[in-house]
Amino acid sequence: MEPTGPDAAPAWQLRRLNGRDVLVLAGDWIAQSGRIPEFPANALAGVAGGQAVALDVAGLGRWDSGLIEFLWDAERTATSAGIAIDSATLPASARTLLGLLPDRLAEPRPVTRRGFRPLNWLGGKTIALLSELGVLSMLLAMTAQGGVLAVAGRARMRAVDLLGNIRDAGPSALIIVSVVNFLIGAILAFVGAVQLRKFAADVYVANLVGLALVREMSAVMTAIVMAGRTGGAYAARIATMQGNEEIDALQVIGIPVADYILLPSILALVFTMPFLYLYGCLVGMLGGFTVSIAMLNITPAGYLLQTLDAVPLDQFVFGFLKCIAFAVLIGVTSCRIGLKAGRSAADVGVAATRAVVIGIVGVIALDAIFAVIADVVGI
């Protein structure tokens, strides 16, 4: 090894010796020192074309790829000027590395920047949206068909897949659904209690909590939890399967993706969500009950009776049906996003995020539509 003193700065010079141009290199050329000079594009201007430039490496100290970096620069400059560099004096290893490098770089591809064309953009977006809607409805139809076949016992869906999906979507979500709904019930009771106490209408807290939960809050909150928990998981799982070519394998063997992956996933959501909603209603009422008993002048029996009185059964039916719609929405969109995803790790992340965002926004938008329908129908 060369003496390991402090690095001498890399230096170069183009000299004319005995009628030949010589590139003299001296000092230590270490890439990570950050001192590797650039070879100026006009450095070879004084050299006559068609001549070879010799290298003098007598003063060269330690070197690594930093030297190659500089020499490659020089070589490319020389090549474009029609000058050769005679590398015979270089150490053999440096010659080997230089031999691996191309003499010239390809011209960078010109970036075609198209101007902003609003009509074009709008048209493209519209077509994309329409075709996406088409694909979604096709998926929906396929799932519905599969569901009907499954009920008739003729689907190619395996019961074990459906049960596994139901377990993941339902019982495993009980704790988070409980926590969210209990707190929502308690918060509703708090807000209601503060206002209603002013009118000595304490007992109507039960009406407020019961109606709000059964009509809106429990269904929406449960759906948001499921969109984040199960929808995101579906999208990530299907996107990863896509990346591992598992989807391709299914198709080659002839197992329809719709039967094997989509149907159990979506059906699991459709089966579990309404029951999670009913459970959420009960837990939420328990939350409201707890706060009311602690804060208000009301007996437990009074609260229960008032609740039973305030919430008619058809409200439950309405919430139940809403939940089925939410489940279909979350299931179909998240599966579709997973199927559409690219094949890299980054794409899986994008798919999961998109599924959650679209799930949550979609649930709230759909809920607004239901609110309008309910108003028109008069429920």
Binding site: Q32, E38, S65, A92, L97
Partner: protein, 267 residues
Amino acid sequence: MTDPRLHDPGENPLLSVRDVTLAFGPKVIQHDLSFDVRRGSIFAVMGGSGCGKSTVLKSMIGLLRPALGSISVDGEDYWAGTEARRTEIGRRFGVLFQSGALWSALTVGENVALPLQMFTKLDEAAVSRVVRLKLGLVGMEDAIDQLPSELSGGMRKRAGLARALALDPDVLFFDEPSAGLDPITSSRLDDLILNLRDGLGATIVIVSHELPSLFAIADDGVFLDAQTRTAIAHGSPLSLRDTSPDPQVEAFMRRERPEALTAGKVP
């Protein structure tokens, strides 16, 4: 070796593995492994599928602590030091993973630039020059702005190699470099590995069972056995093929099934 950057070649080995046992919990993968990797050599870790070659590589690059024994780099026990020290030593390593393991969210150029940005004080212009050089060495300078998902398997490997070269490593580890490549691409990669060894003066450790590429490039090695779970032969692939006393090693190296030699046993 005549390269001036390799001091006292063959005297003290660069990597030294002593009595190493590798295990996942109670499951022993390999036991009592001992071998040295000389400076400037291309060292092959050979063996059949499932014998634990890749696990041995993992323990050498710092991903799996050996259950017993020591692995030394330049005489320093790699696994005895702190994690910070291990990271410091690890910066002298470059690893090419089996399918490139490029970070999929970054372009090829950014993949090579990341270690330089994290571990060197080079400014942006210097980083981009180094990136271009390393990509040029593996013949990928045109793919600098492409994403890994747009590359073929062979290109991904070369880009992974450029990333492994980013910090001018002393030791390059290759996990199954020819897996999934056609014979031509694979032999080009072999040439590239040889050229890089000669040019950079790096030491190379290669895990492989591809006989043609082992014969072409490796000059030393160790043969791991899946049954006895330890090393059963040492030496270059060519010498193992021609002069191994162990019939099993010889059979592997000649691509014959062991039952042709020992007769009777169904594998």
